[in-house]
Amino acid sequence: MFRHVAVALLILVAGQSIAHASDVNRVYVVSDFKAPELERFAATELAGQFRRLFQNVEVVATNKVPAAAKQIVFIGSPATNPAIKQAVGSKWPKVSDQGIVLKSVQASGAHALVVGGDTPEATLWAVYELGQRFGVRYMLREDIFPLEKQPLKLSGFDVTLEPQLRTRTWRTINDFCIGPESWGLGDHKKFLGQLAKLKYNDLMLSIYPWQPFVDYEFGGVKKQTATQWFGDRFRVDGDTVGKKAFGGAKVFENPDFAGKTGHDELTAVGIKHARGIIAEARKLGMTVGISISPLEFPREFQAALPGSQVATGLNQLTILPGAKQGPNDKRLKQAVKAKIRAYLQTYPGIEKLYLTLPEFPEWDQHAQPAWKQLSAQRDLGDVTLDQLIATARDRKLIASGKRGEQALKGNVVALAFLNNLFKDESLLTRADGGRVELVVTGVDPALFPLLDRVLPAGAATLHFIDYTARRVAEHKELLALVPAKIVRSQLILTLADDNVGILPQSSLGSLGTLMDELKTLGWDGFSTRYWIPAELDSSVHFLAQSAWHADLTPKDSYFDLWETITDNKSATQRMWLGEQHLQQATALIDKNDIGFTFPVKGMLMKHYRADKLPDWWQEANDHYTQMMIELYRVNGSIDPRATKITFYYAKRGEYVLTYLAAVKATREAAIAKKNGDTEKTIEHLETAVEAMYDTITTVADVATDQSDRGLIAVLNEFAYRPLLAEFEKLLDAE
């Protein structure tokens, strides 16, 4: 018995001495057991980061500070963590609900660091901010940690950080298979995790009428349409180039929808999918909104909406109000209500409902009475509709001239309709009694000065202005017309435009201009727009940083990101040159042929016409070539942590060149065909087919996500196959 006690004591003493010795290298991450779930998640995240960042450190997550602790990290705020209250007392800084606190303190003889904020969301961002300050860089697909572990450092922090832009929205789902509409829930979750680390705090699910994310009935008609990607299907067969990227699948699908058919089955999956995305965003402390086009319905509703007309969109999947349906049309109003209620019932937890005004309004005939209606409801001063039309016609945006007039008129009618619609305040009431914020998207810039008077009461706005960031930046004076301090306003920042298309894009410089404007003018924030995430790391990082730092330039941000992860200044400088070439190439396409690689049927064969080769093609080709060279060059000289990313970028630079070669050869084939030279036509087409083949295999070589696979599917369906068919037709006829 005595022997056992002695042994037990020995073990205990030894254990204590070991514990005591290891306390030197032990850091306690302290959160309160009653802390909000997100705050406890923040503690877990910090513990995980510390284990990867610091050498010889044992990280212990705990709810209580051990007496022997020498190194402590407190997570939360005095309100959520009594240990912080005790350690900081009255020194807790005054911060907003988004303010971040990183503060070194001494607590009972221990080195301590407080990582937190007044809300759990801010606390989570504080953890990620600390990680960034310790050298972690959050990319879209992964975190890049410093190459070598460093000694633990808890001292020297006295940081409070407030956002310059409070709403940092990420848009998802969208409408092409090259974008997040093809991502499975697992892909979304991973992506959202990275966005949270970059302190994006709002998610917008951009949903279209034909998609399988809601079910509703109106006027005896039940929604029947449930399809993705504008109804396009992408087969993967033996002849599909780059098929290795699909892992043996016979068709390209969103993995969550694989094998599902029919409205009911697809919609059930779609709702589960979207709810999963929303739940994940909430888990990460984000607010969530859904964006819909209220006046657009699937075509089966034409029977219930007499007078409606088929919209001129892709594959003509929807109807829009027609000439006979004015802004006071009762059936239309009921239909829109039914749709809005269906969304709010299906997704009861959302905070915002974005209502997008139609991009191509077809009911501009009612503009004058609608204007009168708006004027009667609010004081619009002495502004006339004709004056606004003149403004819309004369501007330099894509929507100018006749299109500008149509856009404005349609907008006016739609706004009159919405003002009528939301007289019923219950429409925005959630099942839990809470109220969903209304955000109106796509108000015509001519109406900006009147924004607070033409919107439904209390509505916020999300502004589009034009397709690319460069175009918006060129008209940045329009931003000043928005009464952003009265109407909560966000700007859509296009990171990569679907019209410019599938090629790598960057508008980093323009994004810098626009972010400066938003901050100066007191806008609430921004919302992203993109399809393929590919090389958007630099832009996403810039927006994330710029939203918190007043004077950060795109270049500063770029170097902060790439110099940190490449560990090579020279390489970063060359990458920066490559980035500028990319921006110039993007701008060239945007300026000269904005639909150059729009990912739809005919995307390549539209160049099969006997027109002169535009000079800018060569110029764009030169810029992309330089971009690719810079990326391949740095790839051989930088830290291996970064090479996976730069190699991916470089391969995408390579694919552009073969794509452009295919376009050029296609045009040359058309010229030869017009000249009656069949042999030359075949020769050029052969070159084009081979170049397109190389394009796709180059993408497939580095395909990493569903967007890359979607790109391969698009290139096969809309570029390679029609080109090959023409080539073989001529060959067989020879």
């Binding site: 033996g238 180039v241 098929k243 290795k244 043996g248 090579n568 020279s570 390489a571 400088q573 060359r574 060279i629 391949y632 060059r633 740095v634 790839n635 051989g636 000289s637 291996p640 090479t643 052969e686 087919v689 081979e690 083949y693 190389d694 295999t697 070589d701 580095v702």
Partner: protein, 487 residues
């Protein structure tokens, strides 16, 4: 475990054993040689099957598949001997494996796994399991960059010996992809990298190094050694930067050199009778030496100089050798001096050539039979000598053929109607040529004076490994699977 050459008793025993084994091998050879495909591209790396069994024309990953097996990732070709098929693969990012299958049934006979360790950077489409095994029927010999050369008992997979090989380094980051061969009682293996290229022969029974010959004039390349018998002498022939060289296979001593090649050598020559045929495509023109590529791709800050920080540390010794004025930067000729041997300033270009074997010393003027400046060859797919013609295929599925006798064109630049890259080398047998595209399609051509497409067969996944022919069957390794095709 290793036998010490200095121990006379062991040597004596070994001699007896070698003699006995030679008899056994001869006996085995007489039974199996017509059916076996023992190394990269089979008999002497020719890609030609000499057996007279009919080979399938139409097949796919679903059609005429006798058996198939999941492998893991890799681009090493299968080898077949004594009714067994051997393959190497990466089971996952951390695990290298050697596998043996029953050739008839596809039943897995054994599998040996090894932690891969810290694998080097490679450039796709290269894979870590890229080296094709070699076998003598009793043993199988494999190479893996982090493990070296290893020999296994062919019957049960028991590891018999292992010889570490220093990690190769490539200025352009390609990564290793060389394959061993077996010649008589030797396992011969070469690494032409940009750091310390060499040719080595191991005793195939013990793994002892029988000889090792440095190849300091060489740069990174992936040619496999072949044997050429001319004038009654059998030489080991190895292509490398700028030079085709002949060695005494028993001693590793260099016998001859033909200074007619280009800088970057990724193809393997083929031997017909006493003549060696080679096809090459290298970037740039023949004047474009390595420095241009290094200044383009490794001069990170584009200041026209190479500094140490722009190169991996392993190259710093070479850097110092070139930095004549010791200013810490390589400029112009200093770059050549650092990395390219002064006697071997080969550049780029496109060529197809025939070199008569044998000879002594510099045979460039005496043995180079013909040399075509042709854009027909691939930089990676090796040529195929079959039916009196040298067949080549390149990117885009463009095939050409040249008459072996004088290099005259049999057919120029004909499409085989399968686009894309060609990394696997063509093989032939039963009057047919099998051309494997990276896209997983294998085009079957009828051998003859004009190309005639017999079939285009879809293997369902990327194909970079060269297929193998044995006993009327074709063994095809896609990126992840092994198929045995036959009827």
């Amino acid at each position: 475990m290793k036998r010490q050459p200095s121990q006379p008793i062991v040597c004596m025993l070994s001699s007896v054993r070698i003699a006995l084994l030679a008899i056994v091998c001869c006996a085995v050879t007489s039974v199996t040689s017509a059916e076996d495909w023992k190394q990269f591209r089979g008999p002497n790396s020719t890609g030609v099957s000499t057996e007279n069994k009919p080979l399938p024309v139409e097949f796919s990953f679903e059609k005429n598949v006798l058996w198939s097996a999941e492998l893991g990732r890799g681009i090493a070709s299968p080898v077949i001997a004594s009714g067994r098929v051997f393959e190497t693969t990466m089971l996952d990012k951390q695990t290298f494996a050697v596998m043996a299958f029953d050739a008839k049934s596809g039943k897995k006979l054994w599998q040996k796994e090894f932690p891969a360790g810290k694998v080097p950077e490679i450039t796709p489409p290269n894979e870590h399991a890229s080296s094709t095994p070699a076998t003598d029927g009793d043993r199988v010999y494999v190479y893996f960059s982090t493990l070296g050369v290893m020999a296994f008992n062919a019957a049960d997979g028991k590891l018999l010996w292992k010889q570490p090989i220093a990690m190769p380094h490539y200025l352009m980051g390609w990564g290793p992809a060389n394959s061993p061969i077996v010649h008589e009682d030797l396992v011969i293996f070469n690494i032409d990298d940009d750091l310390d290229p060499f040719l080595v022969a191991f005793d195939r029974y013990s793994g002892d190094v029988r000889w090792k010959t440095p190849r300091p004039e060489m740069l990174g390349g992936f040619s496999t050694p072949v044997m050429c018998t001319a004038g009654g002498r059998t030489d080991l022939v190895l292509a490398g930067s700028g030079k085709m060289k002949g060695y005494d296979p028993q001693t590793g001593k260099e016998l001859w050199t033909c200074n007619s090649l280009l800088r970057t050598i990724m193809t393997t020559p083929v031997v017909v009778d006493d003549t060696i045929y080679m096809s090459l495509q290298s970037y740039g023109d023949t004047e474009r030496v390595l420095k241009f590529a290094l200044l383009q791709w490794r001069d990170t800050n584009q200041d026209g100089k190479l500094t140490k920080t722009e190169l991996e540390k392993v190259f710093w010794k070479k850097f110092d050798k070139g930095d004549k004025n010791k200013d810490g930067a390589l400029v112009g000729d200093e770059i050549d001096a650092a990395f390219q041997a002064p006697s071997n300033m080969a550049g780029g270009g496109n060529i197809i050539q025939a070199i008569r074997g044998g000879g002594k010393g510099d045979v460039t003027k005496t043995h180079l039979l013909w040399n075509l400046d042709s854009k027909a060859p691939s930089n990676i797919a090796s040529p195929l000598a079959y039916d009196g013609r040298l067949f080549v295929v390149k990117k885009g599925g463009i095939s050409s053929a040249f008459n072996l006798k004088d290099g005259s064109t049999a057919w120029p630049r004909k499409r085989i109607r399968n686009f894309g890259n060609y990394y696997a080398s063509p093989i032939a047998g039963d009057g047919k040529i099998y051309v494997t595209g990276e896209n997983g399609f294998i085009v079957v051509l009828k051998a003859g004076p004009k190309p005639e497409i017999l079939a285009k067969n879809d293997m369902g996944d990327s194909c970079i490994a060269t297929p193998a022919i044995s006993n009327g069957r074709i063994y095809i390794r896609t990126l992840k699977k092994l198929y045995c095709i036959g009827k």
